[in-house]
């Protein structure tokens, strides 16, 4: 480990610009595109991956070494950057409660790239997050995909409008007014979607309806946070009725209806493995990811939304516990790298260590899932962004 730290320190002293040429050497390199490479090397140039394999490092490259090298981790759903770590009213921007349906709210207008939790998760190797408006009202707003880097959101953003965040079940029940019941939630959504079907925008623009229209047109998917099995089936019915692309989110009772989910061809961003088993998640299981894998349903892991402590979870830890509960090491790592990239539709850019993809890399001093292993470095767009030992 000292060697690694020395290498990183040396790099910091001599070079840290994004144009530097970096060679990342790993005792074990998990590319997530084929078998892991023992004593592998990943060359980074101009922010992209230039070459991957087992070879001697050419001259002109700064060398960084680590026991384990993986693609930068991707958190398939979080609220980091909108739900701040202090948890005071002034740093909580993930839910606006003035109305039950506000799909026109854009994550890019609220995201704080300098928020402490962005830095926190990056320190563990998380380089990309799907974040934005969270669960808690029927339609809370839009989500986006950003890298955990940059001083402003423009530098960070990959997709500024990824999905429209919907919550069904008790989580969407309004304390007063509508929706007060499950049926009402669906009635309200149906009504808006029908409006969107008929929308032309010729008389006057309506951003709310336009957001739903974007869902109908396949420009944005609908991310439906839902727990109970019957709510999952309601979600699938609604999706079929309107022919819209949905992603099931959290879905702690998905294991009861895997056949239906599989038949619908829907992906699941499953709840954090260590999510508390209470409320509508009372029936959750640590084996959720493993069951989805067994049912051949595409899935990724998420850190999710936390109202109290911890203010965010860390997908590295969630994947580790999934690996201890039925997923193989490779499957668990895939669920926070390449599988997450595929689910988010960004697999051409990130998620694996392949030539031409973004140079986003996480470094560890051992098995990344072990509690006592440390994250020792994070590279984003070819630039060493963190050397903290976490």
């Amino acid at each position: 480990m000292n060697k690694v730290l020395f290498a990183i320190t040396a790099l910091l002293l001599f070079h840290s610009s994004s144009t530097a040429q970096i060679a990342v050497k790993g005792d074990m390199v998990y590319t997530m595109a084929g078998d892991p490479i023992e004593n592998g090397v990943v060359l980074l140039r101009n922010g992209k991956i230039e070459r991957v394999g087992r070879f001697d490092v050419p001259s002109g490259y700064e060398v960084i070494e680590a026991a384990v090298v993986t693609p930068g981790l991707i958190d398939a759903h979080t609220v980091v950057g909108l739900a701040g770590y202090l948890n005071q009213p002034e740093d909580q921007d993930q839910v606006e409660r003035s109305a039950p349906m506000q799909p026109e709210l854009r994550a890019i207008d609220a995201y704080n790239p300098r928020e402490a939790l962005v830095t926190w998760v990056r320190g563990f190797g998380v380089t990309t997050i799907h974040t934005g408006h969270g669960p808690g009202v029927l339609v809370s707003g839009q989500t986006m995909i950003v890298k955990t880097v940059g001083n402003d959101v423009q530098e960070a953003v990959i997709n500024p409008a990824a999905m429209v965040a919907v919550t069904l079940g008790n989580g969407a029940r309004a304390s007063s007014g509508s929706p007060g019941t499950r049926s009402k939630m669906i009635a309200m959504l149906r009504s808006e979607l029908i409006k969107a079907q008929n929308y032309t925008g010729e008389d006057a623009r309506d951003l709310r309806v336009e957001a739903f229209k974007a869902v109908l047109d396949g420009e944005m998917r609908m991310l439906v946070t839902v727990e109970r099995a019957h709510d999952i089936l309601t979600t699938l019915r609604l999706a079929e009725e309107f022919g819209i692309d949905i992603v099931l989110d959290s879905a702690s009772e998905a294991y009861l209806v895997t056949d239906q989910i599989k038949a619908a061809g829907v992906s699941v961003i499953t709840h954090p493995t260590m999510a508390r088993h209470g409320g509508e998640r009372a029936n959750a299981t640590f084996e959720a990811a493993s069951i989805l894998r067994g049912a051949d349903i595409p899935f990724a892991l998420q850190s999710g939304f936390e109202a109290y402590v911890p203010k965010t979870r860390v997908i590295l830890f969630e994947a580790g516990v999934a690996a201890a509960n039925g997923l193989s090491f490779d499957e668990a790592l895939a669920s926070i790298t390449i599988d997450a990239a595929r689910l988010l539709g960004v697999e051409d850019q990130i998620g694996s260590l392949e030539v031409g993809k973004d140079a986003d890399i996480a470094l560890y001093d051992g098995d990344p899932f072990e509690y006592t292993t440390h994250a020792i470095g994070v590279i984003i767009n070819g630039k060493l962004e963190s050397t903290e030992v976490r």
């Binding site: 088993h277 009372a282 029936n283 911890p310 516990v321 899932f369 509690y371």
Partner: protein, 434 residues
């Protein structure tokens, strides 16, 4: 070979123990006794709910008639001691007053809550069940063993006189802060606590004077009696506290009124580690996966364990279940080790240190002959994410067995595992019987 040599000794051993004794031998495990060196290929022998012998498999003779358990490839260590949990739908004081020492959590716990089964599957054998932190003093806590329970009595830990054991729950910082009669500021919080302890002292003095003069004692005041138990050292004060200045306020009050204190959560512990160590206060830590969630926890850091160890403080851990799930309790030790705490002290913190904090270190917390047979069988190293608790034993009884499908459900979760399952099953059985 050695067995033959020691046959004579064995005969004596079996004769000196009652023929009805339930003796079990766990053979071949890697044993972490906590009070001594780890044993690579060891044997643990228990009898009648207590630990009879422990040592390397080569040295320990297995009594005749003992039930043999093959523990090859397993790790055995003492049952975990959770110094701070809220399982069992526990309640404490209500909104009527900020200081309610007469309230006892024993009167609120639902022993059929499935949280108990889940905690068994996490390897927790002893816990301090507490009321919440929304009061300066929310009630009297309860020390329990996670035995299979139908009624609260099944969980209790009794002293020699048959009294249940527990401590006192106190809190400062922002949680107890609300509208009057609760405090609105930190100084007011301390003033309210101080006033109550002074009243209890005066009550105690009157009682003593009356006894001396052989006069009638003042009317029994259950709240003051509890505070007197704290000041006499009979009951430990378990004090929720986070911020560095609040931690020092607790230490001052502890010194002023002479109550023994264990600091709980202690987000800023790493900032005042030397002061805590100097005061001799125990510290029960919790690591959560990110800092913040509340203002006082914004500097919560995995490194507190290391810093406190370096300062020489007594360090234990807790789940604060449901803040963290009892099934992930071992993870607390592992995260502390991740940030530099020694493995030895971290495992000590999960067991014997916790036992010390609830005055039970003479009965539990290490695999010492004569202590209660509370231990866990693990599939691997206690600090590894891949390790599962295979079996949990309390007082020589197996309360969790991962190989059993019903038990396993509570280890992983799944449909119905949040329900008061024991009650549900019992009802069905009763119906079936009719």
């Amino acid at each position: 070979m050695r067995k033959h040599l020691l046959l004579g000794v064995l005969v004596v051993l079996t004769m000196t123990h009652s023929s009805t004794a339930q003796t079990r031998a766990f053979i071949g495990a890697h044993i972490i006794p906590i009070d001594g060196q780890e044993i690579e290929h060891g044997t643990l022998i228990i009898e009648d709910g207590q630990i009879l012998a422990i040592g390397s498999a080569a040295e320990i003779e297995i009594p005749l008639g003992a039930e043999r358990h093959n523990a090859n490839g397993m790790v055995i260590m003492p049952g975990l001691v959770d110094t701070h949990s809220h399982v069992g739908q526990v309640e404490g004081g209500d909104g009527s007053a900020p200081i309610q020492p007469d309230v006892r959590v024993i009167d609120s716990i639902n022993p059929r809550d499935s949280g108990f089964q889940k905690a068994q599957s996490g390897g927790v054998t002893t816990a301090n069940i507490m009321s919440g932190s929304g009061h300066l003093l929310s009630g009297q806590t309860l020390y329990v063993k996670y035995r299979d329970a139908d009624v609260i009595d099944d969980l209790l830990i009794l002293d020699d006189d048959g009294n249940w054991l527990g401590g006192i729950k106190m809190a400062n910082g922002t949680n107890p802060r609300r509208n009057a009669p609760f405090p609105g500021t930190r100084a007011k919080a301390a003033a309210l606590v101080r006033a109550e302890y002074i009243k209890a002292s005066e009550y105690g003095a009157k009682k003593a004077e009356a006894a001396k003069a052989e006069e009638d004692a003042p009317p029994l005041h259950l709240g003051y009696e509890a505070l007197l138990d704290a000041m006499s050292g009979k009951k430990v004060v378990h004090h929720h506290t986070h911020r560095h200045d609040d931690i020092l306020t607790v230490l001052r009050l502890s010194e002023e009124f002479g109550f023994r204190v264990v600091l709980h959560h202690v987000s800023d512990a790493w900032k005042v580690a030397d002061e805590i160590a100097a005061a001799g206060a125990g510290v029960s830590l919790i690591s959560v996966d990110s800092p913040g969630g509340k203002l006082e926890a914004k500097d919560n850091h995995f490194k507190s364990g290391r810093m406190l160890e370096q300062a020489g403080a007594l360090v234990g851990f807790h789940t604060d279940d449901g803040i963290t799930d009892s099934r992930f309790f071992l993870r607390q030790a592992a995260l502390a080790v991740r940030a530099g705490m020694s493995r030895e002290k971290a495992l000590f913190g999960m067991t014997l240190a916790g036992a010390e904090m609830i005055d039970l270190d003479d009965r539990i917390g290490s695999l010492t002959p004569g202590k209660d047979a509370d231990f866990i069988v693990l599939s691997g190293d206690p600090l590894s994410v891949y390790t599962h608790v295979q079996e949990t034993w309390i007082d020589g009884e197996r309360v969790f067995n991962r190989s059993n499908a019903e038990d396993r459900k509570y280890a992983t979760g799944g449909y119905g595992t949040g329900n008061d399952q024991a009650t549900f099953i019992h009802l069905l059985e009763r119906e079936a019987g009719q």
